[in-house]
């Protein structure tokens, strides 16, 4: 045993960790602060990025113009309506699937979860094909049934709210599922023992107990709805309905561009989401104090009796509208020559699929997707693991700042982030604009908090004494991390990787201002095909892309399953 000087500064032991911490801090700070600072500066300038100009407050003043205030109102209105609808529908589905004796509950649960992975822009495309003025429903009404007086229009407020709600139901379902399944059975049993009927148990005990989770779900759904870009862009722009996210896009994309106003809009949208997020965190924290005590017992299933068919109809109709119908429609549109609402009269072709294989652009976009999602997600997981370790375990000086930085992009909508990066790399002498690198940067920044949440959630469950036992057994900090902490955290790293991979694959909002012909990924290829009104190619790309991704993820799951043997959760002491 050598006498060594105190290393109470930063790290307790080892310079390697110190260097890692500084590197991690620096990377996160650069990732997050560069686009945000660019936005702040941009909102105070009167010229486009990279051009000489002067300082001004006119952009912020521009927020008070009539058009912008109208956009704010539309954004909040659409956000409220669609989040209420999705929270209601998602909670109802979660309740029916997990607390009643509905048939095929597990299949339904799997299908609802699966629809979570259907990208918003693909869902919007499908519903445009179904419900736009020249779409399927109107075609059927006119050509097949001969009805002229009634038409549906997906390019409307109702259409946008409907598709956003459809898109977010699985999110609300997944949020509510945990609290509904994990509720302490003794709360309900106590109510029943006190003489309450099934219905009053539900009304006076179960729902009030879930109210925190429900509020929290509602707020998060609202955030997702107001920062939703793809659906209001595809469905709102043709019908002249603008929300904040699409207005920003229009201001930047179409001449004459007004970058300053776009930046001011983006920042105010970020402030709105950040406020809602702060509210949600507060609610969630109170919730933890309120009901997460006690063991999860066996909850009694509510017998549906003669209402069962209605509950089944309720759940299956969601799966049909959000998953089956869109996929079938995309499949149909991808194999017809010209758009025709009547499948009996349509001319069929495989040319879209042939084109996919022939076109070097689409092949490149597949390759780019693999790089961006596959490799980018890996980088994201490495970064998120380091952040979680430093903020939750080692807690060196400044770790709260690191935590705050990593969570900051959570409140920044995708298009806003895209604009910030666009602006920043127009100034900075780093030639990454128009490359896949900037997409990787954008995606990691945007979804970093998802990964740290997943990994951190696991790390806090791993009892501190497991690591301490390694140190007392003679392991250095690094050995403790490698031999004890990481092996125990592996499932969460895999989970985070899957999450990031899917998020990167389906992301369009932050990519839409950053992609170019050479850095096209699948989502942007589909997007631009659809923008060029090439519905068939967009549909074919969507289907092939989704199938490829599911095969890739499945293969990955099979590969990693072997490594999970011997791992038994619930075996961690201190829980």
């Amino acid at each position: 045993m050598a006498q060594v000087p105190i290393r109470e500064s930063l790290f307790g032991s080892g310079k390697v960790l110190g260097v890692m911490y500084l590197a991690c801090f620096l990377i996160v700070a650069l990732l997050v602060l560069i686009p945000l600072l660019a936005l702040v500066i941009g909102s105070l300038r009167n010229a486009a990025p990279g051009l000489p100009g002067s300082w001004t407050l006119a952009n912020w003043g521009g927020l008070l113009s009539r058009g912008v205030i109208g956009t704010f109102a539309t954004t909040i209105g659409i956000g409220l309506a669609s989040s209420l609808a999705s929270a209601f529908y998602g909670t109802a589905i979660a309740f029916i699937l997990h607390r009643t004796d509905i048939r095929l509950a597990r299949l339904l649960a799997a299908l609802v979860s699966l629809s979570f992975f259907l990208p918003s822009f693909i869902l919007a495309m499908a519903w445009i094909i179904i419900g736009s003025p020249g779409g399927l429903i109107n075609g059927l009404l006119q050509d097949v049934l001969g009805i002229e007086s009634f038409k549906v229009d997906a390019y409307s407020h109702i259409g946008i709210i409907f598709v956003i709600a459809l898109h977010q139901v699985p999110f609300a379902y997944l949020m509510m599922r945990g609290p509904i399944i994990g509720m302490d059975a003794s709360f309900e049993e106590a109510a029943r023992a006190s003489g309450a009927s099934q219905l009053s148990v539900l009304r006076r005990v179960t729902l009030p107990l879930l109210s925190y989770s429900l509020t929290s779900t509602l707020v998060l759904s609202f955030i997702l709805a107001i920062e939703q870009f793809a659906i209001p862009a595809l469905m709102g722009i043709p019908g002249h309905i603008t929300v904040l996210a699409t207005q920003m896009y229009l201001l930047v994309r179409f001449p004459p561009p007004d970058y300053g106003l776009a930046a001011a809009l983006g920042l105010s949208l970020s402030i709105l989401t950040a406020f809602a997020l702060w509210l949600q965190r507060r609610i969630a924290r109170k919730n933890r104090l309120a009901v997460t005590t006690g063991k999860a017992g066996k909850l009694a299933l509510v017998p549906l009796g003669r209402w069962r068919w209605m509950a089944s109809f309720f759940c299956w109709s969601y799966v049909v509208l959000a998953l089956f119908l869109p996929v079938i429609i995309l499949g149909y549109v991808s194999v017809i020559k010209y758009f025709n609402a009547n499948p009996m009269e349509a001319a069929y072709t495989l040319r879209n699929y042939v084109f996919l294989l022939d076109s070097s652009t689409t092949l490149r976009s597949f390759w780019n997707t693999l790089v961006v999602s596959g490799f980018g997600a890996l980088l994201g997981v490495v970064l998120a693991t380091s952040i979680s370790y430093f903020t939750l375990r080692l807690k060196p000086p400044g770790h709260t700042a690191l935590d705050l930085l990593a969570n900051l992009p959570f409140g920044v909508p995708g298009v806003v982030l895209g604009l910030g990066l666009l602006w920043a790399y127009a100034y900075l002498p780093v030639p990454i604009y128009g490359t896949v690198t900037i997409l990787v940067i954008a995606f990691i920044t945007r979804f970093l908090a998802y990964a740290t949440e997943t990994i951190g959630g696991r790390l806090v469950q791993i009892d501190k004494s497991l690591e301490e036992a390694a140190w007392t057994a003679g392991a250095t900090r690094l050995q403790g991390i490698r031999k004890v902490l990481l092996p125990l955290a592996i499932p969460s790293l895999q989970g985070a990787y899957f999450l990031l991979f899917m998020a990167f694959f389906r992301e369009i909002a932050s990519a839409v201002l950053l992609y170019t012909a050479t850095s096209n990924v699948l989502s942007t290829s589909i997007w631009s095909s659809f923008e060029q009104a090439n519905w068939g190619l967009a549909s074919a790309l969507s289907l092939v892309g989704m199938i490829a991704v599911f095969i890739f993820m499945y293969a990955l799951m099979l590969l990693t399953r072997g490594s999970r043997k011997g791992e038994r959760s619930g075996m961690l002491p201190g829980i």
Binding site: M1, V4, E468, A469, A470, T472, A475, Q479, K483, E567
Partner: protein, 357 residues
Amino acid sequence: MGIHISNLVKIYGSSTVVNQISFDVADGEFVTLLGPSGCGKTTTLRCIAGLELADGGTIEIDGVAVSDRSLGIHVGTHERNLGMVFQSYAIWPHMTVASNVAFPLQVRGATPKAAIDEAVRWALNIVGLDALAHRHPSELSGGQQQRVALARAIVGKPKVLLFDEPLSNLDARLRDRTRAEISRIQKELAIPAVYVTHDQAEALSMSDRVIVMSAGVTVEEGAPRDLYRRPSKRFTAEFIGAANFLAMTWDGLVWRTADGSAVDIPAEQQAVAGEKREAVLRCEVLRVEPADVVLDRMHIALRGTVRGLQYMGPHTEYAIEVAGATIVAHSQAEFTVGNLVNVTFRPQDVHLLPANA
């Protein structure tokens, strides 16, 4: 050479959790830190392990300073050559029993594979788990996990064994068995041990010496028998075992209780007339007899009234009003509330606390 700790200080924010603690542990000695939760005993142990950075004082293990603030010395936990058993066992769930036990040798890297296997077998044999070497921790009971933790702590023949309330998660019967086993193994290996607990039974039955702690300072230390029978502090008498306290006054000839009853005990020391002291009476030395029974001259008797009772099985616990105080006595005899009784005890079973207790 053991462990030598002097003036250890640990401060969290504005509260001094460990305040100038000093003690030694001789080679092969088993020393227990005993105290209520929050008394600083676990923090002291964690400072010895190097899991906490001491704010003052020195810690020496086997003659080497591992912590000395004034000299700027803080040897990392992994370099202190310890064996530690945690309250939560801290058995790594992703490793088998054998790899858990092999870890301390593998991670230090100096031992060849065959010797590691041999050492693991030896350690598992000592704790009686030879047959379970290839199981996963999830397949073990709490008691078995505890023994894996013990095997892991001893496998590297450490300079010191540290125990952080290792039995508190076990059920009562298993606790008794494991207690005996830890004692036996520690004696066999003759490794100095520091054991932290709030359980007096563990402290009394296992230790060569007990250090009673409260609010970050040492209250008293001594061999288990001395601490129990002749505590020099009221806190010790209260914390270890069930004790009754009677206020007594020396009238120049004999000690008298508050109501004037004489308690004729051998004078240990010269007392000044009018001096007040407290007498400690353990519940189990008291006998409760009907008031009309003829008194035995070998015993001191105090007249009292039964105020409450709880039937406990082996005995009944009586709360009896005696000499202006309520004392608790255990008896197999049957009385009811309101009965007049004599509480009797032998003179040598009375312990007078020192004046400054």
